[in-house]
């Protein structure tokens, strides 16, 4: 298996753009990634694109915007982990030696999707979806258990959102650059109690892109390539095996796989970008990722260690909560943020001396399976 590097990253604007096509948003991200590594479109040999809603030859539609055509293109859907899946697809192609240079795209137009302005349900035939299950209702039920079992309070959940909104203020590309207090978050509109509006990620249109290559090509373009140390993707197990809905079996397993593959310890990680679609979730993911001992996620949050400037900054980009969450784009976008820190180019939100970073995504609801039907982790290093 060959080593793989990320040499180009790009993001479109994030926000609500009902008049822009997915191809236009995706094209903007790909153009930024090409410009970032200064390679011509003709050098791209393979493309994977992820999109959740209305997907139909998305890769081809995006690539034609920037002069990339007539090559192998694959479209994937894997809920919120779609972007991670596209990235991993390209990584596998290059690691296996099939191609030398590839492009991963994640794109979503939430405002023009069938679920625009709604609570995200499971797939349309899903039984529990008909019975009232939505993404926020699941995480609200998780939040109630966090309060019952682990002593969490709604103010703790709000604290995650305060932190990530503060981070978003330092990111020029964030959808929301506004500070909020714990009180403002608690007093925002109730969505599924105890989850309020400002504890939920917004509906976002946007795209992200990454260009991956083998080390020979990377060295020709940059003196500081960022290497992919681990690429993992795992599906969830049966729901009945998840006795405690606060503990993610798939999230825990995929973390072990990633650390083992990368040959790094959780304490070696300098920054984390993760799925914080709902504020309470981030606290549990600290534990899955072994950033702290099991059940100690609340302590880690309250200690301030996961703020920019803390021991292990989590979601320095602003996360899905402030930067925005175009579903399939986020899996690529989290990796782009980690790359930026490893290069030392993250500006005001830069993690000092970052050498190893982790990008995680979790996604999907299916009746009968644990929530988080997919989990993916990439570990990158300079």
């Amino acid at each position: 298996m060959r080593e793989v590097a990320v040499i180009g990253i790009g993001q479109s604007v994030f926000g609500k753009f009902p008049n822009r096509s997915a191809a236009s948003l995706g094209g903007e991200a790909v153009a930024a990634a090409l410009a970032d590594c200064r390679i011509p479109p003709k050098d791209i040999q393979v493309t994977y694109a992820a999109r959740n809603y209305d997907t139909n030859c998305t890769a081809q539609a995006v690539c034609k915007e920037v002069g990339i055509r007539a090559l192998e293109m694959i479209n994937v859907e894997n809920a919120c982990a779609g972007g991670s899946t596209a990235f991993r697809g390209v990584w596998k192609e290059i690691a296996d030696g099939r191609y030398d240079v590839g492009l991963a795209i994640g794109v979503e137009s939430m405002t023009t999707s069938p679920i625009a302005g709604k609570l995200i349900p499971p797939e349309k035939d899903d039984l529990d979806g008909h019975l009232g299950m939505t993404m926020p209702s699941v995480f609200a039920m998780v939040a109630r258990r966090q309060m019952e079992e682990y002593g969490a309070t709604p103010a703790d959940f709000a604290l995650v959102s305060v932190k990530n909104h503060h981070h978003g203020c330092l990111n020029p590309q964030a959808q929301y650059k506004k500070e909020f207090s714990v009180e403002e978050i608690l007093n925002s509109r109730m969505i599924c109690d105890p989850i309020t509006l400002l504890m939920c990620c917004p509906n976002t249109d946007g795209a992200a892109a990454a260009i991956l290559c083998c080390m020979d090509v990377a060295r020709r373009h940059t003196t500081k390539p960022v290497k992919v140390l681990a690429s993992t993707l795992l599906s969830g197990d049966y729901e009945y095996l998840q006795e405690d809905i606060c503990v993610s079996p798939v999230g825990t397993k995929v973390a072990k796989m990633a650390y083992e593959m990368a040959g790094v310890d959780p304490k070696d990680i300098d920054l984390v970008e993760m799925h914080d679609a709902f504020a309470n979730e981030e606290i549990l993911r600290y534990e899955d990722l072994m950033l702290c001992e099991p059940t100690k996620g609340l302590e880690l949050l309250r200690s301030g260690a996961t703020k920019i400037g803390g021991r292990i900054p989590v979601n320095p980009s602003g996360g899905l909560l402030a930067l925005g969450h175009p579903l399939s784009a986020s899996g690529v976008r989290t990796i782009c943020e980690v790359v930026l820190h490893l290069r030392g180019e993250a500006g005001e939100r830069q993690t000092p001396k970052a050498t190893v970073g982790l990008a995680q995504m979790l996604g999907g609801l299916v009746t009968g399976l644990e929530h988080g039907v997919n989990a993916s982790i990439h570990i990158l290093a300079r």
Binding site: K118, L119, P121, L127, D128, G129, H130, L131, G132, M133, T134, P136, S137, A140, M141, V142, A143, R144, R145, E148, R189, M190, I191, C192, D193, P194, I195, Y238, E239, Y240, I245, T367, G368
Partner: protein, 129 residues
Amino acid sequence: MVDAVIVREGLFDDAEGGRLLGNKCASCGKVYFPKASFCFSCFGTNVEEVALSKRGKLYSYTIGRMPSTHFQPPYAVGLVDLPEGVRVFAPLKLTEADTFRIGMDMAVVIEELWQEDGKLIIGYKFKPA
């Protein structure tokens, strides 16, 4: 007369005032709801229909304040643990707001869930027992 249709076949019947129907592995005893086509736990293929307990304990819940696919707010949904080792996701019957608490006894009811194209959609809910 308005037509009534059930939300999905094979999930419940109206015996004993309405009960959920799962299935049980004849080899290892694992119970499933909704029914499994074979035992996901031991891969046994001999599974038989069983009626589930009508009462369980509330594992978690939330009250929705924005519409879901079929429900207008406020509506409650939750997870109920049945003695057979099965956790069921279901709408909860909302009588007075905020009367739910984790661990409380719940009982299954079979009734109208919503109306669609002039039809009553019948399914299961849980209410405080």
